[in-house]
């Protein structure tokens, strides 16, 4: 819609581009924008009942969960920052470890509360539920990998032991 209007303006102005033409271009683009956006606004208003539910899915509500998540994020940042401060030599290792330990303890408490809340999914948004699901699967994979690695190490350590024990037996 915009280019035909501009062509018309240019034609009226004998194909010359000067300051008035530029501002007429902008005016025309604005007129199209007004129609477009106010049209969307009117359509959204008309749709107010039908789409309400779907749109609600996007919204992130302020819930105990989101507040706990936010606290956990703060603690993660704080630990990271403290590690950097320690590496920069601004804080002693002992002090840094003490404070990091304190953060970790708080973070673990928060994570436990988050997991406890996990049983009641009604409060969480779709996004939060997906995030949690992904994390849970990653955690399962990681535990499996850890268990595998542990088992491998056990076998490795058991094998030489066996080898060692065999001659003696």
């Amino acid at each position: 819609m915009v280019p035909p209007g501009w062509i018309l303006i240019l034609q009226i102005n004998h194909w010359r581009i000067d300051a008035p033409v530029v501002f007429l271009f902008i005016s025309w683009a604005a007129v199209i924008g007004i129609g477009l956006f106010l049209g969307h606004a009117a359509m959204a208003y008309g749709d107010a009942g039908g789409l309400a539910q779907a749109a609600d899915e996007d919204a992130v509500r302020s819930t105990p969960r989101s507040e706990l998540m936010s606290e956990k994020r703060s603690l993660l940042k704080a630990v990271k920052e403290m590690e950097f401060e320690r590496d920069m030599g601004k804080i002693s290792d002992a002090d840094a470890n003490h404070i990091i330990g304190f953060y970790r303890a708080r973070a673990i408490a928060v994570m436990k509360r988050l997991d406890a809340l996990g049983e009641d999914d009604g409060e969480a948004s779709v996004r939060e539920r997906i995030e949690r699901e992904v994390k849970a699967r990653v955690a399962v994979d990681r535990r499996a990998a850890k268990a595998k690695a542990k088992a491998k190490t056990k076998t490795k350590t058991a094998a030489p032991a066996k080898e060692e024990s065999e001659p003696s037996s």
């Binding site: 606004a41 703060s74 030599g89 994570m111």
Partner: protein
């Protein structure tokens, strides 16, 4: 109903269309407000979406209105009053476009347009992340828009037309506004003001929706940083404009309009620091919301100050009591709503704050907030004090630059100390041993630099008053010492940070440095801003040993010298075009016999406004100092010309510092996506804004370079006679003659063996005369010029005839006293001041109110407020430190982790690895 009301239907088609656009915009804004609020309160997201689209539509409507108004300017549609008043046919197109914001009506519409643009960008980029409060954001912005639109529609419609025949040609834009600095300075300052509405809207939306987590603070921080940047840009461009165009050799005069931009800058800076405490520690939520509200409040208050006429300024629009009343009502509304919402959500905003130690970054930020808020409130108080005095006692007084400098210089130096100290402190706690290790290099660097400067450049040792006239310290040297300390501190941070990064990644120093700055962009961008501020302080410090010299030349080819520079006068040149008549002096500047520049100071007289001639300065810019030449008067028939030469040391470092500040801000705003996959952080700034910053930088840079040779319009000056500027100076031989005779007699009596013409004798006489000259100079700096053409400049510096007359009166009055003994000098000072106050009918002739009676408030309140806030700060800090110590003690007594805890710890470590 005023005839400028939008409801008086105009006749021009452009005016009709523009007015209809404004009326429709008003309706759309009202709908968007209602839709946003109802959408959230009744959980109808589609309504919220409708309000968002209405905001975009509103922006398009304002774009249409703006384009139509500019179209009317460029097509000379003089049926529209605003166009006829602020443009004429002969004006260049560029100035016709900028005439849009040249007057009150247009500037209000420009405000609405810029806010609509910013709000659209902010809502577009945040509508998903803040889906549960974006409707409130739209509603808040729209309420502000409704207020300004209501002003436009009711009384200030820029599309209002003449009821009788329109004029054939317009009046033309004021000469003051016809220069390139005025093309970019007002929009940048407006943008800073307007951008502060966005964090405010998010703040109010967070309060209304109850969502006060750190997601909110991240978005608000980004927009506050953008607002802060544009406020900085507006202030620095205003300074540059004043420096180049007003012809008084300075860049900052504590004018109320300048102060209006500075006050929200202080509160925005305070917020940018305290927001970090909230993000790091989850504390100070209500304080941060308060700062956001305060910053917005001050931007509206600043607009009110400049547009209502309640303060006197050469920059301000005229007095408008009706507008003032409407602004006051709106400000009250803003306060009531904000404070009400804050009170309602206060329980949610409370956090069990705790500090581990007084020696921590958190506490440094608290002190920083105290200082910045003190600066904001002091500047506000001092700016408003004349108005308060007039309202309470019906006595108009002047609060000039000396009053501001008395408190702002020490506060500025304290802020500079903090800019160096804070980077060296760790979050939570820094032990004394570590503190020593951190401070060794910056302190050593600072001391060595100070010693070298004191030895190599004796001028830096010059003493100047601080806090009180009796306290004379080498403020310049102290400033350089602190600047060096900041450089040392910031440099050390970069050095150590790079080394840590090298250890972590195994990269080379350069890659590690880039990686460090990009991953920790807020921290290191902030450090660059600290360094930039320190660079700017170098420029401020240089002012102390600047000079001002008035010279008269009577014939072509005459030479004169000022501080080692030689000037050769080649005569006056008179030229004219459709627009103006210009009288230009041609002067060659030499140093050690070598030519370094051609200077062309001039005076322009516009055809349309001959009563407002303008002064064009000519500047040779050097990193060490600027040579700044002003043509103060001339007689073309005789070839006689008066010049004023300013030598401004280090002034270019103010502008250089600003470039560095832009770089630091751009790094802070670097979007996570550009930061190379470290994108889990929030606070993504629109990439376009980064581009905008870069463009702004280029624009500013090109203009700064260009400005050295080009000369545009300047402030109106009085048509002066020859030599007026240098008439009646403290070293006037006629004034000093009787004192010299007495001093010679005194010296001869004390030392009969000295020959009268010997160097020893003359030195002793001059030593006797020096306090007399100093007293006259002091008085000339304390008394301001009330000519009306200058911003109450001191009579020592004002170039007009009124100032010269006042100087003559000062010398005449002083001549009646025997000034060679100290007691009489004190008495003479008071007598002269009293005589001037009596003659002027009030203390408004003084740069500072006399410290007596009601005026004591002006002196006492800032100090009392500072001290009170410091006590409060200490109380709060102590409480939080104790709480932190208790928490750590409790944590230390807790038992060893269980197996379950270890599992959680593993998960925690995994998540920790995901962030950089």
């Amino acid at each position: 109903m005023p005839d400028t009301s939008a409801l008086s239907i105009p006749t021009s088609p452009i005016a009709t269309l523009g007015t209809v656009a404004l009326l429709v915009a008003f309706v759309v804004a009202a709908y968007a407000t209602a839709a946003g609020i109802i959408g959230h309160s009744r959980h109808r997201p589609a309504l919220v979406r409708s309000s968002v689209h209405s905001l975009y539509g509103f922006f398009a409507l304002m774009a249409l209105a703006s384009a139509l108004l500019i179209y009317a300017f460029v097509t000379h549609d003089y049926t529209i009053k605003y166009v006829a008043h602020y443009s004429d046919t002969s004006m260049p197109v560029w100035y016709k476009i900028t005439a849009y914001w040249g007057g009150l009506d247009g500037s209000l519409m420009f405000w609405v347009f810029v806010l609509a643009a910013f709000a659209s960008i902010a809502v577009k980029t945040n509508r998903r992340r803040h889906a549960d409060m974006i409707g409130y954001v739209v509603a808040t912005v729209m309420v502000v828009e409704l207020f300004f639109l209501a002003l436009l529609i009711y009384d200030k419609n820029p599309f209002a037309t003449f009821l009788t025949d329109p004029p054939v040609d317009g009046k033309g834009l004021a000469p003051l506004l016809q220069n390139y600095w005025m093309v970019i300075h007002p929009p940048s300052l407006y943008t800073g003001f307007v951008a502060a509405t966005i964090p405010f809207a998010f703040g109010i939306a967070a309060l209304a929706s109850g969502r006060l987590d750190d997601r909110w603070i991240a978005s608000v921080r980004v927009w506050m940083l953008i607002s802060w940047f544009f406020l900085s840009l507006g202030l620095i461009l205003g300074g540059r404009w004043a420096y180049e165009e007003l012809g008084w050799g300075g860049y900052w005069a504590w004018d109320p309009v300048e102060n209006a931009g500075l006050i929200p800058w202080f509160t925005a800076t305070a917020f940018l620091h305290s927001a970090m405490i909230q993000e790091q520690r989850g504390m100070m939520k209500s304080w941060n919301v308060g700062l956001v509200v305060l910053t917005f409040f001050f931007t509206i208050f600043g607009t009110f100050m400049t547009r209502s006429g309640i303060v006197q300024s050469v920059h301000a629009f005229g007095q408008d009591n009706q507008l003032a009343l409407l602004f006051i009502l709106f400000l009250i509304f803003v306060l009531v709503v904000s404070v009400g919402l804050l009170a309602y959500r206060f329980p949610q905003l409370q956090s069990a704050g705790s500090f581990d130690s007084f020696i921590s970054r958190e506490v440094a930020f608290l002190v920083n907030n105290w200082l910045l808020l003190a600066c904001a409130l002091f500047v506000l108080f001092a700016t408003m004090f004349p108005t308060i005095s007039e309202a309470v006692r019906n006595v108009r007084i002047t609060v000039g630059a000396p009053f501001f400098n008395r408190l702002m210089v020490p506060l500025g130096l304290l802020l500079l100390i903090l800019a160096g100290i804070a980077p060296l402190l760790a979050w939570r706690k820094t032990t004394v041993e570590r503190l020593k290790a951190q401070f060794v290099f910056p302190v050593a660097f600072s001391l060595v630099t100070t010693a070298l400067l004191a030895i190599l450049i004796p001028a830096t040792r010059a003493r100047s008053p601080i806090f009180h006239e009796s306290i004379q310290l080498p403020v310049t040297l102290c400033t350089f010492m602190l600047v060096a300390f900041v450089f040392g501190s910031v440099g050390q941070e970069f050095w150590r940070g790079t080394r840590v990064r090298m250890r972590q990644t195994g990269g080379d120093p350069f890659t590690s440095l880039i990686g460090l700055v990009v991953t920790k962009r807020r921290r290191y961008g902030g450090y660059i801003v600290h360094a930039a501020i320190a660079i700017m302080f170098c420029g401020f410090a240089g002012k102390v040993w600047g000079s001002q010299t008035d010279v008269t030349v009577t014939k072509v080819g005459e030479h004169f010298s000022v501080r080692g520079y030689e000037f050769i006068y080649h005569g006056l040149e008179i030229t004219s075009d459709d627009h103006k008549t210009a009288v230009t002096a041609n002067v060659t500047l030499l140093e050690d016999g070598d030519k370094i520049d051609d200077l062309v100071p001039a005076k322009w007289r516009y055809v349309k406004q001959p009563e407002e001639p303008t002064t064009e300065v000519s500047i040779t810019a050097r990193l060490s100092e600027d040579i700044y030449l002003v043509l103060t008067g001339f007689e073309p028939e005789k070839g006689v010309a008066n010049f004023r030469v300013y030598i401004n040391p280090l002034v270019d470092w103010v502008w250089i510092g600003f470039f560095v500040l832009m770089l630091g801000t751009a790094i802070c705003l670097l979007p996570a996506s550009l930061a190379g996959g470290f994108g889990r952080r929030r606070g993504r700034a629109p990439g376009t804004l980064i581009a905008l910053l870069a463009c702004g930088g280029l624009l500013f840079g090109s203009h700064t370079a260009f400005a050295q040779k080009e000369h545009a319009t300047a402030a109106p000056v009085h048509d002066v006679g020859v030599s007026v500027a240098q008439y009646f100076r403290p070293n006037d031989p006629e004034f000093l003659a009787p004192f010299r005779a007495k001093a010679e007699a005194k010296v001869a009596a004390a030392h009969p063996d000295w020959k009268p013409d010997s160097a020893q004798f003359n030195a002793a006489v001059n030593a006797q005369l020096a306090p007399v000259v100093a007293l006259a100079q002091k008085l000339m700096e304390e008394i301001v010029c009330l000519c009306g053409g200058c911003p109450h400049e001191a009579i020592a510096t004002c170039k007009c005839g009124v100032a010269a007359q006042n100087r003559r009166d000062v010398l005449k009055l002083l001549g009646t006293f025997g000034l060679l003994d100290e007691a009489t000098r004190g008495e003479a000072h008071d007598e002269v001041i009293a005589a001037f106050v009596k003659q002027a009918g009030g203390q408004h002739i003084l740069a500072m109110p006399i410290n007596e009676g009601f005026n004591r408030l002006a002196w006492a309140v800032p100090y009392a407020a500072l001290a009170g806030a410091l006590v409060l700060l200490y109380g709060v800090g102590r409480r939080w430190v104790r709480r932190g110590e208790n928490q750590l003690a409790v944590a230390a007594t807790e038992g060893a982790p269980t197996a379950e805890d270890e599992d959680y710890a593993d998960r925690f470590d995994d998540e920790l690895r995901e962030i950089d």
